[in-house]
């Protein structure tokens, strides 16, 4: 395998390996369904679309998470940013619902950015603190359950409806993806993210406003979490506590599986996409197989380790 890929750019190798592994998952899953039920739902477009719809929440969170990971930072405030955005959106309701949700994301991102860039508190702990503050605010706000927690029709439309037979959520995810890709590859902000992530000092001495870059990245992470929250609330028809918790670690995992360096500076957005799809498919195949929770966790963990080891052997890039 290493030989096969030797001529490929190191940062693309993980992406290819991950894509290959996606095919493996599909084949194994299909083999299973054929042998048990004699059908191959995994290969039906309808099924794939549904999986992508479910995947869009994780996908959007991961997209934002990637911005900060590229800086060598991390955003642990995602769970309650997501939840807060959803709860605020539903609480405000009406046409202002979605804007309110996104605003929440922007504000939290700004706070994170200020703490990390100006106060220079490690993002690991600062965002953790912000997360618990957000949780506190939401508990206080909701009294344990959302007073007005029903998603607005528009939120429902964005998350649950289909257009041309394709779930809207997928369009939203696609839009986010396009924007992120453009930002990363075609804008000075994007280039500055990579530069700052590799060596903040050198970037700073090149006259890059590293602090603004950091703040910008955290705001993107916040807003992505918010979009995911608004969608998820639309999908679940309501906002609820702990709706964000299941997305934090998988998002980080997806980004890293996509070949982004956890220390920052390297990574392509396509990789993150592939990483997300890999995780989503893995989970759904496991649940098709009726794998008990215990087995899922073990397999999930082993897959991540396994793949990182494969990447590692090919390239010295340690994920």
């Amino acid at each position: 395998m290493t030989k096969l890929f030797s001529h490929i750019k190191p940062e693309n190798r993980p992406i290819l390996i991950a894509s290959a592994f996606i095919l493996v998952i599909l084949m194994v899953g299909t083999a299973f369904t054929l042998s048990t039920a004699g059908t191959a739902p995994l290969l039906s477009p309808g099924y794939v679309l549904q999986q992508l719809q479910i995947g869009s929440f994780l996908g959007i969170v991961a997209a934002g998470m990637m911005m900060v990971i590229l800086l060598g930072h991390i955003d642990l405030s995602v769970p309650w940013t997501l939840t807060a955005a959803a709860m605020m959106a539903t609480a405000v309701g009406g046409d202002m619902a979605v804007p309110t949700g996104l605003a929440v994301g922007l504000i939290v991102g700004l706070v994170n950015g200020l703490g990390v860039a100006y106060l220079r508190i490690p993002s690991m702990i600062f965002t953790l603190g912000v997360d618990s503050v957000m949780r506190g605010l939401m508990v206080a706000h909701t009294g344990g359950f959302a007073p007005q927690d029903q998603a607005t029709p528009f939120m429902r439309f964005l998350a649950a409806e289909k257009v041309l037979g394709i779930p809207m959520a997928i369009f939203v995810w696609a839009l986010v993806s396009v924007i992120i890709t453009i930002v990363l590859t075609r804008t000075s902000f994007g280039r500055s993210i990579y530069a700052t992530g590799i060596r903040e000092g050198a970037a700073y001495l090149s006259g890059i406003r590293t602090r603004l870059v950091i703040i910008g990245a955290f705001m993107m992470s916040g807003v992505c979490a918010a979009i995911a929250g608004v969608l998820l609330a639309g999908y679940s028809a309501k906002a609820y506590q702990g709706m964000g918790t299941p997305y934090l670690l998988p998002a980080i995992a997806a980004v890293v599986l996509g070949g982004t360096r956890i220390l920052g500076g390297q990574g392509r957005y396509v990789g993150t996409l592939v990483g997300v799809i890999l995780i989503v498919l893995l989970n759904s195949v496991l649940s098709i197989m009726q794998m008990p929770e215990a087995g899922r966790q073990v397999i999930y963990g082993s897959v991540i380790i396994g793949m990182l080891l494969v990447y590692g052997r090919g390239t010295k890039v340690t994920a």
Binding site: P41, Y47, Q50, Q51, Q53, I54, V139, T142, G143, G144, F145, P147, D149, A160, L232, A233, Y235, S236, A237, K238, A239, Y240, Q241, G242, M243, S284, S287, I288, Q290
Partner: protein, 355 residues
């Protein structure tokens, strides 16, 4: 600690013994008024909020008011170490009785021993403990499971369905009611002749989570013959609707929204059964605690009957309210115990005084 004595106990219509061989307990009488604490674990679903509101309201109830000198409610979250700590702390603070929803069915040996040492009455309810060393209050969870599954099976048999996928929506992992209900449900399906594939998802007793996991399950598995779900039933309905999943028999709890739905769509195949785990149990538990402090003979395991309503038994304005919001639990009162705080009444109060 309490003495094991022989029955009968006081107010049997309220404190009904679980079964014939339920033993009886008696604490030496203390004179009131009493310091009473409610130690809740998990927060974050409508049921617990309604439970807490009921507790506060009941503490203000004339029947109780002058018997209680101090009343405190805390929610510790799902960390056992913290919940045990809170209970022990209230014992240390000299509270007379502590009513609790346990985050796990065992692990309370130590606090039970302490409670007995200090003559504190500890009353688990809802999620009770696997022990007969304390007085507990609950509905029969195993039976709830049986009834749910049996109803669904009968409906399927009527339709002539003998096999297929059944979706079971579970509650918060690790709690006794979730466990017992699931055991009950699965037992019934095993004993039935048909070949049923039970698909389990975890809805944490919460509408939003339930909706999400049910929708995902439908996305993965396609069709289900029926759904048997614990708290969060509104989410089940919502998910079926969104996915355009044909209406099938559904078993669930007593959320108003759920009852609205099964009342409305039963014609289209949504044949439903609603069994209410009543948030009002907290009131019964409080009352039991006080009665025990007064030195009365109490059953060790107090059984509150299952409030069952099938789709054909629903009456608007009586056991569900088409004009009220979805997310409250219709069954709350228990007149035999003088718990007359109804679901609509308690939800009418504004949230701010939930503490």
């Amino acid at each position: 600690g309490p003495e094991t004595v022989s029955g009968p106990g006081v107010e049997p219509e309220c404190f009904a013994p679980w079964s014939g061989d339920t033993k009886y307990m008696q604490w030496e009488a203390k004179d009131g008024p009493y310091k009473l604490a409610v130690v809740n674990g998990f927060v974050g679903n409508g049921w617990r909020i309604q439970m807490i509101k009921t507790a506060k309201a009941f503490a203000e109830d004339p029947a109780m008011k002058d018997k209680i000198s101090e009343f405190k409610v805390v929610s510790t979250g799902t960390d056992a170490a913290v919940q045990l700590g809170a209970i022990e702390d209230f014992i240390n603070q000299g509270y007379d009785a502590i009513v609790t929803i346990a985050v796990a069915p065992d692990g309370f040996d130590r606090v039970i021993r302490l409670a007995d040492k200090n003559n504190v009455v500890l009353v688990p309810f809802d999620n009770v403990l696997d022990t007969d060393k304390v007085m507990q209050v609950n509905e029969d969870q195993l039976e709830m499971g049986h009834k749910w599954a049996q109803f669904v099976l009968d409906q399927l048999h009527e339709k002539g369905v003998k096999s297929g996928k059944i979706l079971e929506v579970r509650g918060l992992p690790g709690n006794s009611v979730d466990r017992d209900r699931s055991i009950g449900i699965n037992k019934v399906f095993e004993d039935d002749g048909g070949d049923w594939e039970i698909v389990q998802v975890v809805g944490n007793w919460d509408d939003g989570t339930t909706q999400k996991v049910v929708a995902d399950a439908i996305a993965v598995h396609g069709q289900f013959e029926a759904v048997v779900g614990q708290g969060g039933s509104n989410g089940v309905i919502q998910a079926l609707k969104d996915a355009g999943h044909p209406w099938v028999p559904v078993a669930g709890e007593s959320e108003n929204g759920f009852r609205k739905a099964i009342a409305q769509y039963s014609g289209d195949g949504l044949k439903g059964i609603s069994i209410g785990q009543s948030p009002g149990l907290v009131a019964v538990a409080m009352k039991a605690a006080v009665s025990a402090l007064e030195g009365n003979v109490m059953p060790q395991l107090i059984s509150v009957p299952l409030p069952v309503a099938t789709y054909d038994e629903l009456k608007d304005g009586e056991n569900y309210w088409s004009d009220l919001p979805d997310n409250f639990f219709t069954v709350n009162e228990f007149p035999p115990c003088g718990v007359n705080i109804s679901g609509p009444a308690i939800m009418a109060q504004d949230e701010s005084d939930v503490n």
